[in-house]
């Protein structure tokens, strides 16, 4: 299945070649989870703070939930603004 993977701020460097505007479309196996995708791209776990799927926040315990085709996974380190 295809999903969109987005990494922002300092995590952007972990996106694979071919990514544009901080995102890339990925072909992933059925049942693939956010945690698995982050591990596959060697994103340091300690830097993963804000995880959104289709804009909705996933608590750490929910990040092993399988993604659905067409999902958009977006991840940030600890950030804030105002």
């Amino acid at each position: 299945m295809r999903i969109t993977f987005k990494l922002y701020a300092s995590l952007g460097e972990y996106l694979p070649p071919g990514a544009r505007d901080h995102k890339i479309e990925l072909e992933v196996p059925e049942g693939c989870t956010p945690t698995r995708i982050l591990e596959d791209h060697r994103v340091p776990g300690g830097q993963v703070h804000l995880v959104l799927v289709n804009g909705v926040y996933l608590a750490p315990a929910e990040r092993n939930r399988p993604l659905a085709p067409g999902d958009e996974l977006a991840v940030w380190p600890a950030i804030a603004g105002g």
Partner: protein, 615 residues
Amino acid sequence: MGWHNKVLRVNLTAGTCTPEPLNAEWAQQYLGQRGLATKYLVEEVDPKVDPLAPENKIIFATGPLTGTAASTGGRYSVITKGALTGAIACSNSGGYFGAELKMAGWDMIICEGRAAKPVYLFIEDGRAELLPADGLWGKSVWEVDEIIHRTHQDPLIRISAIGRAGEEGVMYAGVVNDLHRAAGRSGVGTVMGSKNLKAIAVRGTAGVRVKDPARFMQAAAAAKEVLAGNAVTGQGLPKYGTQVLMNVINEVGALPTRNHRDVQFEGAGHISGEAMHEPRPSDGKPNLVTNQACFGCTIACGRISRIDQKHYTVVNRPEYWSASGGLEYEAAWALGAATGVDDLEALTYANFLCNEQGFDPISFGATVGAAMELYDMGVITDAETGGLRLVFGSAEVLTTLAELTGRGEGFGREIGLGSKRLCEKYGHPELSMSVNGQEFPAYDSRGIQGMGLTYATSNRGACHLRSYTVSSEILGIPEKTDPLASEGKAGLVKAFQDATAAVDSSGLCLFTTFAWTLGDIAPQLDAACEGEWSVDRLLETGERIWNMERQFNLAAGFTAKDDTLPKRLLTEPAKTGPAKGKVNELPKMLPEYYQLRGWDAEGVPTGETLSRLGL
């Protein structure tokens, strides 16, 4: 201590500068800066006064930690009855001016009356005098800064000034210090301009004393370690600034776009914090030059940018080629998403103009967005705009309007009215995305429910800096709550409002609270100044300040009917994103909020509440 116990009273009508003792009893009840200066204002100014009448006053106030070694201890606030809103106004700024004022031996300046001719206030330690500003009137903030430094031959003078916007009656003119730090909101610069006060220039060498220096330095050092060790204040904010939020808020579907018609902006990525770091195709250089810290700050979130010299806005205009104050998130949103413009260089140029001529980019951008919607509807036509085609997404229109508004010319005079007056004038008051006349900042309350209550109850009109529940609802600081739920938000908003009022009264920056709790702030205050400053006392002080501000607004004529949001946010569901189909659920939150506040059903503090708070 923390205080000099000295207030400068400037009577602009009489042309006098008179020192007087700080009211130490009030400092115990209202702490400083926002709280203490508001106490002076409510005691001295009729709440029903015309904000632009000589009877209104404008106060420049430091906090007890301003000018000390506490991290971010350089803040000051400008307090008055706001020109844009007619409500209590308190705009907070960083930079170096506030600390310099304190170093000069003054805790606060109260300006009253109106000068017969333009003047500026010059302070050199204990000496203060009003000087003619004939050569400054009509000049920009940047020109004023240069002329005053040249006139007094002292590069260390710090200057807070209005630009042409404040002279021309732009209703959201701000006060700009150190070239690009601003007390930006609510029209405090408009009030300053109405008094013919062009600038305050200050040089201070007196220093600041604290009550228990050893304990204070220990507390300040411990608190700095917390900031350095926190991923947000130690890494995220210095590198990306507030602008890192652009993609976040777009992703969660709460980025108000094209006057809140939409909640997601297709061009968000192009105007984001990440985009500011990327090399431009034209010259290979990024928009962002460096980050910058205000006085004493160990976070350093400020943005310093340089516009592409080949960009249409600055071609053959080298005066705009230098690095200067870059885009913060709120400005980038208002100049960009609110107008549908995704040209980062154009936004940076418009932001430079806001600093140069002293006007609030949030209210300006949001008002342009409202005008664009009216143009789209055919209500505003080329006949009114002088031929400018106000189409959403036009960078040229945005930058032209920034030029015109700053100078008070052409259709810029209409934009300078603010969205409330503009939309009323053209028969569509419902299209002003504002509360009590002040335009929303960069969060759509259909996608972040708590912000709807925040805006509706903010004492200075729509504002994110009175209760930043985004911190909890989106960023998970101090703990994550669901942005789409209205349950529990009344308590969250009250807690944020009270804590923020205390921080705003201390001399510290609100951004410390991404890492600090009041438990980190209280020991610094307690070591610096008289009084047993504990977390509980700070919260009670914050609540007292909030209720005092509310009382002023009620006396000014505001009622519970003003605690509301534009119809669009209450009846037109978000079209996309996680909040698709949702409106803001203010009616569910407001009654509980009144109850938690100890106010009656009409939003009036009960006698018991006032008595409990000593009001």
